[in-house]
């Protein structure tokens, strides 16, 4: 396969994953804003922070009011990470990698692009928001479904999945970090009822509030939520799950190519360090320090994959 094609597959699925995560994040913000009696600006700000877009947002807007945040996240043309910008990038990468995709996957991406752009043509009102978020999640799920259902399990599939899980690990880690930074400014609030509502929002933003309850039989504690999102193997958006998948796809690639690359070494090291941790050891070193470290390693892994497989000239 061409290095360029591998790169386009990798980034196409990163952008699709980021679209989906941004929709989930917006949903979390919306939910908490609805359940608030007074101004929800702090929460909206934390959402922007989770997306890593604070400085960009502040160059364009003065206040973190709901409608501005929603439109910034979903449709602002000047925001390169808005859903609209990212679905454009995802499709343009899909066009470049067109020969590597089945007709089903290409059509799913093309339809996602058509439908999402159409839905985001006009400013989004709170009333119309749930429908649009549902549309974004449904369209991205269709792409993943087409990938699962129609693509050969070869190197093409591996590069697509690598992009998806590098991005997902990054997103989950960032969401957790926001909890540390913004939602939990004061230690005295830990364990209070406000704190629990905010942790629930975190779960909701990765669509995990229901599954968390199944796994944990209803009891909500910050520690068990942190465990669920970092080290739980059964949770498809946890850091552990994502790194297991990455190791699996890299292993598959290396066996198929008969090579051993630096990225595989990095991936194994990252997975080993996750596996050697317990949530108590994570909390002991500090959740924020743990996440900062993880984000750095995950990013380095992504960059190493790009260079090992000659994505760029």
């Amino acid at each position: 396969m061409l290095g360029k094609t591998a790169g386009s597959l990798f980034w196409m699925f990163r952008y699709m994953e980021r679209c989906e995560n941004t929709a989930r994040l917006t949903e979390a913000g919306f939910y908490i804003a609805l359940t608030r009696s007074k101004s929800a600006e702090d929460e909206w700000q934390s959402i922007i922070k989770a997306a890593g877009m604070e400085s960009k947002f502040e160059t364009l807007h003065d206040t973190y009011d709901g409608p501005s945040v929603i439109n910034f996240l979903l449709r602002e043309k000047d925001n390169p990470a808005s859903v609209r910008s990212m679905i454009d990038l995802a499709r343009s990468n899909a066009r470049t990698a067109r020969t590597a995709l089945t007709r089903e996957v290409w059509e799913a991406v093309n339809e996602a692009w058509l439908n999402i752009c159409e839905a985001l043509k006009k400013p989004v009102t709170p009333k119309g928001l749930p429908e649009i978020l549902a549309l974004i999640k449904r369209q991205t799920a269709l792409v993943e479904g087409a990938l699962q259902g129609t693509m050969l399990r070869n190197d093409i599939f591996d590069f697509a999945r690598l992009g998806m899980f590098i991005e997902r690990a990054d997103n989950t880690a960032r969401i957790l970090d926001v909890k540390y930074h913004v939602l939990l400014p004061s230690v005295s609030l830990v364990g209070g009822s406000l704190d629990n509502v905010q942790w629930e929002t975190i779960l909701r933003s990765v669509s995990a509030n229901r599954s968390y309850r199944w796994v944990n039989k209803g009891a909500i504690s910050p520690k068990s939520i942190a465990n669920f999102l970092t080290l739980d193997r059964s949770m498809p958006r946890s850091l552990m799950f994502c790194q297991c998948e990455i190791a699996h796809n890299l292993g598959h690639l290396n066996r198929a190519y008969g090579t051993q690359h630096e990225s595989q070494t990095l991936s194994e090291a990252l997975l080993n360090s996750l596996q050697s941790q317990t949530i108590d050891s994570v909390m002991a070193q500090g959740l924020h320090e743990f996440i900062t470290n993880f984000l750095r390693q995950n990013q380095a892994l992504g960059a190493q994959i790009e260079s090992d497989y000659s994505f760029y000239a």
Partner: protein, 470 residues
Amino acid sequence: MDFFDEMLDNGAPRESYASYHAWYESQDKKLLKRKMTEAEAVFRRTGITFNVYGKRDADERLIPFDIIPRIIAAREWARLTLGIEQRVKAINAFLHDIYHNQEILKAGILPSALIENNDAFLPQMIGVTPPGKVYTHIVGVDLVRTGADDFFVLEDNARTPSGVSYMLENRETMLQIFPELFSRNKVQRVNNYPQTLRQSLEACAPKHCTDKPVIAVLTPGIHNSAYFEHAFLADQMGAELVEANDIRIRDKKVCMRTTQGYTPIDVLYRRVDDDYLDPLNFKPESMLGIPGIMDIYRAGGITIANAPGSGIADDKAIYSYMPDIVRFYTGEKALLRNVETWRCSDPDSLKYVLEHLGDLVVKEVHGSGGYGMLVGPASTKAEIDRFAKKLRKNPSNYIAQPTLALSTTPILNKGELAPRHVDLRPFVLVAPDKIITTPGGLTRVAMKKGLLVVNSSQGGGTKDTWVLED
């Protein structure tokens, strides 16, 4: 002017259309209108779009698709094919001659000025013989019809003819929305084109190539107007779709950068113009090209399809000599007719053209896409005067032809049949030992009443083209 209607003769369907026409008459017209929308949705979903240069917001457009097929009888097609193959054979022989002994110039059939001062003639190709002596591997011959037995060649596309993906997708779409039509009418298949193209290109692989040749399609990239077609063909042939920055020259081979290192390419189906192919040999500022590929090519290390320099054969000034060219190389009279053509470089012709601008179509010698031309009968006095000025300033840049009474076939317009002008581009594949013409081709149709220009850049649409079985 009277126009030949391909479907109806005094209200009654012509023979090739009889079965289709009976079906059409039995259809609910509202339903047909709905099928039209359905077809459009298919095109949009599959992303079959083309880019229009210089239009920012509408940069991806659908080419209008009409659901009434154009139908050609087996007998008519058989005659056309003979003419097409004769012409393509002559074009290949002409290209070989012009880059070698230039017998045709020595024989005085063609003035040498026409070659010497021509930008499409590449001195870098002198003395080069591509594998199998094939210069133009994929040819599009543009035909127009003016009567039951009257077909004319409007132009030859020996460089990089496009549109074949529309021919294939039009058929796919018709099969999807009207499956019943294909059991009632025996239509010759077109969907084996990509496989035939692959085999044809493989047959032209360089001599050193003993294994299955590695084939790649070279595209300028996703912003090119025909990118969809480049991706489509690569996909269907199982070839790689490459851009210049995917390619490096390594150990005197043209190689592509893969996830497992550099792999040599044997046959490059390029959809990049000559000028942009190699910045070392042609335009130095080109970012689309591969530095040094011409040197590897000349040394026989790679096959380039179509060969650089093939464009000299579809130059519009050369076109006017095509009947002589066919006779010179095949020893036969040309089976397909040329449209009468005045070369404005000739003072007598120029005088005639200037006096009759209102009746003529004037084209730039190197123009394409319906740009830079004058359709006399459809132009205002002021437009004609303006064009006359340009013509006087640089006469050798223009040719003129009479306005042809192009045939019409009906399109579905507001639920009714309405005649519109059409042309036809059959696609011809050339291998060392055979020439294959895909039955049918791309029919382009002017969607506006009375309009004689059918190019997609001028709002023209397309329709499925059926060649019936005997």
